[in-house]
């Protein structure tokens, strides 16, 4: 599943994920017609609209054995909110629950489903990892992305102070309250720069857009990367 930000702004992340999964022996398909998971609508309170988006996503992925998403928040949306949004639709209730079960965020898919903890990658550099809120608190995941990073021989992982604190993105929050969002981001980036890392890694398109946009604006030498781009660095933007 490639959701809106990945489709439009970070196609290289999706490409890296596809190549990585194929290298690990997974047959990858991409059902055409994907748009967005509907989280922006849901989080802003437009639940009926979000349900329409959820309904078509459920239908698109009906045939898949597993659905892998390179974004913790989209995975969280599908896994925790779709069943609730479609619970009153007799035709979609069970398929929504099935999709919730078979959808995985990339790092969780690699480690929990494939049982892979080390991926051969020529990546070289010092990285620090940001726990995006929906992956950390929504899906309870902090370990697997770190394990995968540590498994890359040339990758030195430095812990980020306050790695579990929000980057200030929050979807529409980032433009409804841009000043507060930017102030929260400022704290995050100061922590990032204090680590001396070359790259800031995260597993969520929203956080990467926020933190990456802040890093380039302040002329930082730190690059924001998705985990997939470390594990399959041929596709680094």
């Amino acid at each position: 599943m490639i959701t809106c930000l990945g489709e439009m702004f970070f196609p290289e992340v999706g490409v890296a994920m596809v190549k990585l999964l194929r290298r690990l022996g997974v047959t990858v398909d991409f059902p055409p017609g994907q748009t967005c998971c509907g989280m922006p609508l849901f989080n802003s309170g437009y639940h009926r609209d979000a349900a329409l988006v959820a309904a078509r996503t459920v239908e698109l992925f009906a045939e898949a054995e597993h659905v892998v998403v390179p974004s913790g928040s989209c995975a969280w949306m599908v896994k925790t909110e779709y069943p609730g949004l479609l619970k009153d639709d007799p035709a979609l209730k069970a398929p929504a629950e099935a999709l919730a079960r078979k959808t995985h965020e990339l790092s969780q898919f690699l480690v929990k489903v494939l049982g892979v903890t080390t991926v051969a990658s020529p990546f070289h550099g010092r990285v620090t990892y940001h726990d995006s809120c929906h992956l950390l608190r929504g899906l309870g995941e902090s370990r697997h992305p770190r394990t995968l990073l540590q498994g890359v021989p040339g990758c030195e992982l430095v812990e980020l102070p306050g790695s579990d604190e929000c980057c200030g993105f929050g979807g529409s929050f980032s433009v409804r309250l841009p000043e507060v969002s930017t102030a929260v981001l400022g704290k995050k980036l100061a922590n990032v720069e204090s680590t001396g890392a070359d790259c800031l890694v995260a597993c969520d398109a929203g956080c990467l857009m926020q933190m990456g946009g802040g890093l380039t604006r302040r002329g930082s030498r730190v690059r924001a990367l998705h985990l997939a781009q470390v594990l399959e660095p041929g596709e680094s933007a």
């Binding site: 809106c4 802003s44 309170g45 841009p178």
Partner: protein, 470 residues
């Protein structure tokens, strides 16, 4: 906050807070300290997680039979010689206190920290009626001197640095005091000692009230709560109806996690258990005890969206970890209760209309839910409030049009693809070094402080065509 201040839009209030260097310094120091202390406290307390679950279960079970627990509490307090008053609104609660003051010739009332009395603007009402309220919690004392409102549920003066407090004391109390917390505390202590002895009435809130024993419980750190409940001849406690708990055993569960969540303490320095007024043969305690059980918008939420918010213990942990609260402090929210839980409580007390902006004052990061001792799902309820704002059509017109368009694009791949192509065309004048800057209109909210990646030359769907044929 006054109506005039509330007329300033919320983003503007946040803007002012972000520009206040003293506030930023004070908030960073205090919230960082609270976060660390809480974390350390629970890390060394393996039973904590299970107790949090149990506390949550007790709250839920209590709400299911709230009427019975309240009646039992009232019966037990009356049996001990106390009086119980039922207040449907904040206005009624205030009137009950003012009537007591008038009937009993009260001239001065000492108060221990109470958000319930803040909620009903009691101090202003007392002053208007010629009764002098004196706050005796150090933080409350500071903000009373400064003519301000609390900006945190448990640390009312969290927005002030010690330097500001020293200046305030020097100006208001006469003298020149250094910015040393010990010195300043000693000054307040000396000022307050006489007030405790002079006051006719002691006014408190209540952290809990135990139905089976009729015990009112106060959790404090300065001992002022004990003085307020024992020295004046009348003690009045104001409590939200949801705060009743069934048994003393339940109380132990809550006490074991409350202070840990709030300040990282195992227990607060003082836990005051008040059981009725002074009994025959006792040498201390008030002659009269009054408990005011206040509804003020709470009870309709038992069957409402905000039901879980009725579990709240008022520990303040969710404020300390909230990235928004940590940046703007409590006053910018504009109402009695700030922070993530404060948005829910404001909706409860003032209605959904009051929080149509505040409901969006959260990145939904979930840190609040994570630290809440009773695991209140605050982000979920914030989203539900946003849904109410949508359903009641009180969201701004432009926003509704925008989200309507977004829904169309998200349900039509053709439109979605067209959006990408249009974006690619429209962004051309704004691309600098492969980044978008200085975008107009609504997009400027982003690009004023952050770069935006341009819409890719080829979207993933377009690139998939190559990937399909490896």
């Amino acid at each position: 906050m006054s109506d005039t201040q509330l007329r300033t839009p919320f983003p503007q209030r946040a803007h002012v807070a972000l520009g206040d260097a003293h506030l930023q310094e004070a908030l960073t120091i205090a919230t960082t300290k609270f976060i660390g202390l809480r974390k350390e406290s629970f890390a060394g307390y393996p039973a904590g997680e299970a107790l949090r679950d149990r506390a949550r279960a007790i709250k839920e079970a209590t709400l299911q039979r709230l009427d019975q627990h309240l009646e039992r509490l009232a019966d037990n307090i009356e049996r001990l010689g106390g009086h119980v008053h039922w207040a449907a609104t904040g206005h009624e609660a205030r009137d009950i206190i003012l009537r007591l003051c008038r009937d009993r010739g009260v001239r001065m009332a000492v108060k221990s920290k109470s958000m319930a009395t803040e909620e009903i603007d009691l101090n202003e009402a007392l002053e208007a009626a010629g009764v002098k309220p004196v706050e005796t919690d150090l933080g409350e004392y500071i903000i009373q001197l400064a003519h301000e409102k609390p900006s945190h549920i448990i640390a009312p003066a969290i927005h002030k640095t010690k330097g500001q407090v020293a200046d305030l004391f020097s100006k208001e109390l006469g003298g020149r005091f250094e910015a040393d917390p010990e010195v300043l505390t000693a000054v307040a202590r000396k000022e307050l000692r006489q007030k405790f002895l002079e006051a006719d009435m002691g006014i408190t809130g209540a952290n809990f009230a135990v139905a089976e024993t009729g015990t009112i419980v106060l959790v404090t750190n300065e001992g002022n709560g004990r003085m307020v409940t024992s020295l004046p001849r009348i003690h009045v406690a104001v409590m939200g109806m949801e705060k009743v708990i069934p048994t003393m055993t339940d109380l132990m569960v809550f006490l074991s996690i409350l202070a840990r969540s709030a300040t990282g303490q195992k227990l607060s320095s003082y836990t005051t258990l008040v059981r009725g007024p002074r009994q025959p043969g006792e040498v201390e305690g008030p002659e009269e005890l009054h408990l005011i059980l206040m509804d003020n918008g709470r009870m309709r939420q038992i069957a409402g969206t905000l039901r879980e918010a009725l579990y709240c213990l008022r520990c303040g942990a969710c404020l300390n970890v909230c990235p928004v609260y940590r940046q703007i402090g409590g006053h910018a929210y504009g109402y009695t209760y700030p922070g993530p839980i404060g948005i829910l409580l404001t909706a409860m007390l003032e209605g959904t209309g009051a929080v149509k902006d505040l409901a969006h004052a959260s990145s939904l990061c979930g840190a609040c839910k994570d630290v809440c001792p009773v695991r209140i799902d605050i982000p979920r309820m914030l989203v539900e409030l946003r849904e109410h704002v949508d359903r009641e059509k009180i969201a701004p017109w432009g926003e509704r049009v925008l989200f309507g368009l977004a829904r169309r694009a998200m349900t039509s791949p053709a439109l979605f693809g067209l959006g990408a192509r249009l974006g690619r065309l429209a962004q051309r004048p704004f691309v600098r070094d492969g980044r978008l800057r200085g975008l107009p209109l609504f997009f400027g909210q982003w690009t004023r402080t952050r770069d935006l990646p341009p819409v890719a030359a080829r979207t993933f769907s377009e690139r998939w065509k190559d990937l399909e044929r490896p």
